[in-house]
């Protein structure tokens, strides 16, 4: 069982950067889409809507990035402890 705990420790270590990559990739991706929507706007009203959408996107993903990246680092540390056998019985 302790071996499984250590193997999973490695998985948590790898999951941390994967989560960080996933969050940043999505944040950049949705911001790009929001920029395209502004560029594609044909009227003032459509442009205002697209700009409001971009602001919301920045807000949403700003929250997600700021909050979840430190937690992902916590997961890496947790994985390191597990790999070192800190939780072994």
């Amino acid at each position: 069982m302790n071996t499984i705990r250590k193997i999973f420790g490695l998985i948590w270590i790898l999951l941390g950067p994967a989560v960080i990559y996933f969050i940043i990739y999505n944040a950049v991706n949705v911001l790009g889409k929001a920029d395209k929507a502004i560029a594609a706007a044909t009227s003032e009203a459509a442009r205002a809507t697209a700009e409001a959408g971009r602001t919301n996107t920045i807000l949403q993903w700003g929250i997600i990035v700021i909050i979840f990246i430190p937690i992902a680092f916590g997961l890496i540390i947790f994985g390191k402890f597990a790999l070192q056998g800190e939780y072994d019985r």
Binding site: M1, I4, R5, F8, W12, L15, A52, T55, N56, L59, Q60, I63, I64, I67, F68, I71, G74, L75, I77, F78, F81, A82, E86, Y87, R89
Partner: protein, 576 residues
């Protein structure tokens, strides 16, 4: 702690009332988010206003971990009693103040800024409250019964939600929708001050926790609880275990079973305001005793397996449960007939721009009453722009098929007529709601039509929906009932308040509190031109994924030991 339980109910009562009020204060904001967005944000902002409020709502959750750090530290240095007295005053004061702030129309951008500030104070206060109350009760509880006694504190979050929904529903029903939306929404906020004053009075009479008093008199309190909790490896590893192996999963199960369920029933299933809340209220009434049941059971068989089973059941059954919500409220699957005598359609055709007589607001209300008692109301509105100036409109009275009848001037060549038709409404066809207004060539442009659907479900569906929410709240009671005792037993007395508060509030505030926000965001990403509504069940992948990771971590790394001595410095959940 001795096995003497004398005075324990007074301790539980005083702690629980205060904590319940704090949860109430916190949830009325969330429950009234839509109204608050209209009151405090620019009227033309629409979705932006709602999202801003949601962001503030989210901010209220996100600052909770910071409240846990600030007040947890205070609680471990000066004591539990005065710290959670302070959090109660801050929470009550900020809630009362929200009820007094003038709207955007009166004070402009100061209104949303003040709301944001007060919401942050609420979040900070709540971050400090729960850990203090749970620690306080646990430190008064006898060994072997800690799960039972702390489970009473665990009922307060759900009962706080119950109280907030109940008071909002009662006020809204008594005042009427219009008055409530105008100023009546302030009443639940102002009412909080009375509850807080009573609670402060009760808490002032309480004594300090005996365990904390003991280590304080011995000079063993921590001088730097933050450093000791999060820098020292022996405690940091337990903080991380508590977060990733327990509170993270518990948080998403809690918020999915109650908050997301209500949001899904109201916004996706389109069940009306009153029924969507009443369903949650009944489910809470039936499920709340199970917090104590599972708390007690955890004293006998240990905390671990109860919490993990709750998570596992959520992981396995959320999708079928939410699919059942959709099936029960889908008009296409209804077997009962439409009661023709009670069903009617009200068409309207109105000029919306006095200066530009080519633009119209077209609206129609379809009210389908079924023989089983269900009533589905569709209000469809659309703006249409005609090629030529409008001259005349009349309602020919053929309500089922003809919305309006217009006469147009056709390029100066005389009169022409155009019909605005809607698909025949027979009540049992959900496709009606999706049917766009169809125009002949007299229409130059149509703005995206807007359909508001309000369903009053039949009694059988209503009962089944209560059952489905009840099942989810049972999962909540399984993960949440024993968790206070679990967290308390994980950390030593000198840094307990700080150490248990942070993982609790990251798990609940961040992972749990953001369930409605992130799930809605995921559904947005599934929307395509071919499927403009998106996949309604996609949002569940967020709580399912988080609970799955937490389940594996808990399964592998948490021990199921019981009979814990909380004065021990060596943790029992990892070491044999």
């Amino acid at each position: 702690m001795s096995n003497n339980t004398k005075g324990i109910w007074k301790v539980i009562g005083a702690s629980s009332v205060g904590t319940l009020i704090e949860w109430y204060d916190f949830y009325i904001f969330g429950s009234l988010a839509t109204i608050i967005s209209k009151q405090f944000f620019p009227e033309d902002a629409g979705t932006s206003a709602l999202l801003s409020t949601l962001a503030i709502f989210a901010a209220g959750f996100i600052v909770r971990p910071f409240g846990a750090l600030v007040f947890g530290r205070l609680g471990d240095i000066i004591g539990r009693k005065y710290t959670f007295l302070l959090t109660l005053i801050l929470m009550g004061g900020s809630t009362f103040a929200i009820g007094l702030i003038p709207g955007y129309k009166s004070i402009g951008f100061a209104a949303p800024l003040l709301i944001l500030l007060l919401r942050l104070v609420q979040g900070l206060a709540l971050g400090g409250e729960y850990g203090g109350a749970a620690t306080y009760v646990a430190e008064h509880s006898p060994n072997h019964r800690r799960g039972f006694f702390t489970s009473w504190i665990q009922t307060t979050a759900t009962l706080g939600l119950f109280l907030s929904l109940g008071i909002i529903l009662f006020t809204r029903t008594e005042m009427g929708v219009e008055k409530f939306g105008d100023w009546g929404w302030r009443i639940p906020f102002l009412l909080s001050s009375i509850l807080v004053i009573i609670s402060i009075y009760i808490r002032l009479k309480m004594k300090e926790s005996p365990m904390f008093s003991k280590i304080k008199s011995e000079g063993k309190t921590s001088s730097n609880p933050l450093k000791e909790s999060f820098v020292h490896k022996i405690n940091l590893k337990m903080v991380l275990l508590a977060l990733f192996g327990a509170t993270m999963g518990q948080g998403v199960i809690w918020y999915t079973g109650q908050f997301y369920a209500q949001s899904f029933i109201e916004n996706t299933c389109k069940v009306n305001f009153e029924q969507s809340r009443t369903i949650i209220l009944w489910a809470i009434v039936f499920a709340t005793p199970f917090f104590v049941v599972f708390g007690t059971l955890s004293d006998k068989i240990g905390r671990k397996w109860i919490m993990l089973l709750g998570m596992l059941l959520g992981i396995l059954t959320y999708r079928p449960i939410y699919q059942a919500f959709l099936d029960y409220t889908n008009p296409a699957t209804k077997r009962s007939l439409v009661d023709i005598a009670k069903t009617h359609t009200t068409p309207k055709l109105a000029v919306i721009e006095a200066k530009d007589k080519t633009k119209f607001l077209v609206s129609a209300v379809y009210d389908s009453v079924f023989t089983d008692g269900a009533e589905y109301k569709f209000t469809k509105t659309d703006t249409i722009t005609l090629k030529n100036e409008f001259l005349h409109a009349s309602d020919p009275g053929n309500a089922d098929t003809l919305l309006g009848f217009m006469a147009m001037k056709k390029d100066g060549e005389g009169m022409d007529t155009g019909f605005v038709k809607l698909k025949s409404m027979n009540g049992s066809e959900s496709s009606v709601a999706k049917t766009d207004t169809l125009f002949l060539d007299v229409v130059k442009k149509s703005v995206k039509p807007n359909t508001i659907i309000e369903k009053a479900v039949d009694p059988h569906t209503f009962r089944m929906m209560i059952l489905l929410v009840f099942i989810q709240i049972i999962y909540v009671t399984m993960v949440y009932g024993p968790i206070a005792a679990f967290l308390v037993e994980l950390f030593p007395t000198r840094i307990r308040y700080t150490s248990m508060s942070l993982p609790y509030h990251i798990g609940n505030g961040v992972f749990g509190g953001l369930v409605p926000f992130l799930s809605t965001l995921i559904i947005e990403y599934t929307k395509t031109p071919a499927n403009p509504a998106g996949s309604p069940l996609a949002g569940l992948w967020y709580p399912i994924s988080v609970a799955s990771v937490c389940f594996i971590v808990g399964l592998l790394y948490i021990s199921n030991k019981k009979d814990y001595e909380v004065m021990d410095d060596v943790n029992v959940y990892v070491h044999d």
